[in-house]
């Protein structure tokens, strides 16, 4: 800072309508131009990793809900896959395909929210209302599958708590039939809109090289031109059975991030439809009595089921000693679970690799030299979610 120049310090957040979550940015401004920024996070830190060290495995799922709460099923199912990897449980194709359906629905909602919020922050509220109606429908599907809407706590170790009901399948089909129409409308509003393009092209850019150095993953990395997607690189849950395109951008700016997400929604629609059409017959869960709660009728009538029920609920089941790292493609990128087990009823150590936490560090570098209104757009296009930042 030179002596003859006076800079303004502006607190953007912790509670601000444009930050969509509780985190603070202390901006140093020269007029409207951003000289520097410093983020403060941790406002909703809930000590998940410490709590996880004191809970049996199946009770950790509700914690994962609250990481990226815009796409909780991905977090839930990613966690179960981590535990299954530790236990050496191989899930059947039906379970895998059901998981793909739910994870891709979650990805659709995640991207829809992010993209419509970019619209809101650039002054176009209409598109947001259009797609929020669709998000509501996905939440109704979650409700049908798991009973909950936002923090879903969906699935069990080894599969699902119940099969996809006819009503759920019907709802998914209706959603798939209706979504393309809404998406087209939404894209017509924004994609080639002169005002929207002027506001987003060249705003908050990052090169592929810098993005990799900053640990970017997911749509934000792909917008910068790096085609890294966990679903393709290390396929889990039978993703390798399906053909889908990984959209890649070139500039790494807000517009590219918007377009990549938008294209991914189309791919997810295809994936859900494919998985639903090819959904194999079979059981909706694996036979893992040590971890999968037996049905209530069996608990009341069969001794063995009662024993397992008791052991699971009291957390008396031991797990193999070992360590695993499992990652899934979350809404924002590589969501990793690093799990160390010492054989006890709880994890010895569980670390969540939260993509948002890692790439949000690049924010000052991306907005430096730009103007304040662009900084807001950059933030919403990065899809920074407070729950994921703070764990």
């Amino acid at each position: 800072m030179t002596e003859d120049k006076q800079y303004t310090t502006l607190n953007l957040g912790p509670t601000h309508p444009a930050t969509h979550g509780i985190f603070q940015n202390v901006l140093t401004l020269d007029g409207e131009q951003i000289i520097d920024a410093e983020q403060t996070i941790g406002y909703i830190h809930r000590a998940f990793e410490k709590i996880a060290e004191h809970r049996p495995y199946y009770q950790i799922t509700p914690l994962t809900d609250r990481l990226n709460y815009c796409s909780s099923p991905i977090n839930n199912l990613g966690w179960f896959m981590t535990v299954e990897k530790l236990l050496g449980v191989k899930t059947s194709k039906r379970v895998d395909y059901m998981r793909i359906i739910l994870m891709e629905l979650a990805r659709i909602t995640d991207h829809l929210i992010c993209n419509s919020v970019i619209g809101v922050d650039s002054g176009a509220l209409t598109g947001f209302i259009y797609v929020f109606q669709e998000r509501e429908k996905v939440y109704e599907i979650y409700e049908e599958v798991s009973g909950a809407r936002l923090t879903t706590n969906m699935g069990r170790i080894g599969g699902f708590e119940r099969d996809l009901s006819l009503k759920a399948v019907k709802k998914i089909r209706e959603f798939l039939d209706h979504l393309p129409k809404v998406l087209h409308e939404f894209e017509k509003l924004l994609m080639r809109n002169r005002i929207f393009m002027d506001r987003t092209i060249g705003v908050g850019p990052i090169t592929g090289e810098r993005a990799l150095n900053y640990g970017f993953t997911g749509p934000n990395l792909r917008a910068a031109g790096v085609d890294y997607d966990v679903r393709v690189m290390t396929p889990y849950s039978s993703y390798d059975d399906f053909e889908f395109i990984i959209p890649v951008g070139t500039q790494g700016d807000t517009y590219d991030r918007f377009c990549v997400r938008q294209q991914e929604v189309w791919e997810s629609v295809k994936l859900v439809r494919n998985a639903l059409e090819n959904l194999p017959e079979g059981n909706f869960h694996e036979d893992v009595p040590q971890f999968y709660l037996p049905p209530k009728e069996a608990v009341y009538s069969k001794m063995e089921a009662l024993i397992w029920h008791f052991k699971i609920v009291m957390g008396e089941i031991d797990v193999p000693v070992g360590e695993v790292y499992h990652s899934v493609e979350g809404g924002n990128g590589e969501l990793g679970f690093y799990l160390v087990s010492d054989g006890g009823r709880t994890p010895f150590r569980l670390h969540f690799r939260r993509p948002g936490f890692i790439y949000y560090q690049a924010y000052p570098e991306m907005i430096r030299g730009g103007v304040l209104s662009d900084a807001i757009l950059t933030m919403s296009s990065m899809n920074v979610i407070a729950g994921e930042l703070d764990a």
């Binding site: 996070i41 990793e49 004191h54 990799l212 360590e323 790292y325 990652s327 690093y338 670390h351």
Partner: protein
């Protein structure tokens, strides 16, 4: 890329300082002596045959019963060949000092701050070594095993009834 290739290369370059090699878990893991950890990561990143240029994850761990209780665990990824690698290094509680990786990976900045915040591991050379998620005036490191989850003076709960 074969495991044996990486093991050979690392052993040739660092010899005795590669304390342990573990091929039993899902990812090839090395335990490295703390003084050379920066050189090892630099080698893994910059050597043209290695090319582990993506730091996936960095986190701390605490084994209270071991001689070197505090650890830092790095997950590296070679995106070109899709090979993952886990590197660990351990330090004492008395002087928990590990060199920073921020000069190699910008992403290490916050992950190291988080590790410091929860385990009290000091990263030497880090540009901004302060707490990140917890308040700055906190005077303990909450993820170390000796800190209980709940207030230990509570009397209204009997742990025996909760399977603990």
């Amino acid at each position: 890329m074969e495991n044996s290739f990486i093991i050979d290369k690392l052993n040739k370059a660092f010899g005795e300082d590669i304390l342990q090699t573990d091929t039993s878990s899902d990812i090839l893991s090395f335990t490295v002596a703390c003084p050379v950890i920066h050189e090892v990561i630099t080698f893994l990143k910059n050597d043209e045959n290695m090319d582990f240029n993506f730091l996936t994850d960095l986190c701390g761990i605490h084994y209270p019963d071991r001689g070197l209780p505090l650890g830092v665990i790095y997950h590296l990824h070679n995106l070109r060949e899709n090979k993952r690698l886990r590197v660990k290094t351990f330090v004492t509680t008395g002087s928990p000092k590990v060199p920073t990786m921020t000069d190699l990976f910008s992403s290490a900045n916050w992950m190291e701050r988080e590790t410091f915040d929860f385990y009290g591991i000091q990263f030497e050379g880090h540009p901004n070594m302060k707490r990140i998620l917890n308040v700055e005036y906190m005077d303990f490191f909450p993820m170390r095993k000796e800190y209980p989850l709940e207030d230990p003076t509570r009397e209204d709960k009997d742990d025996r009834y909760f399977g603990r």
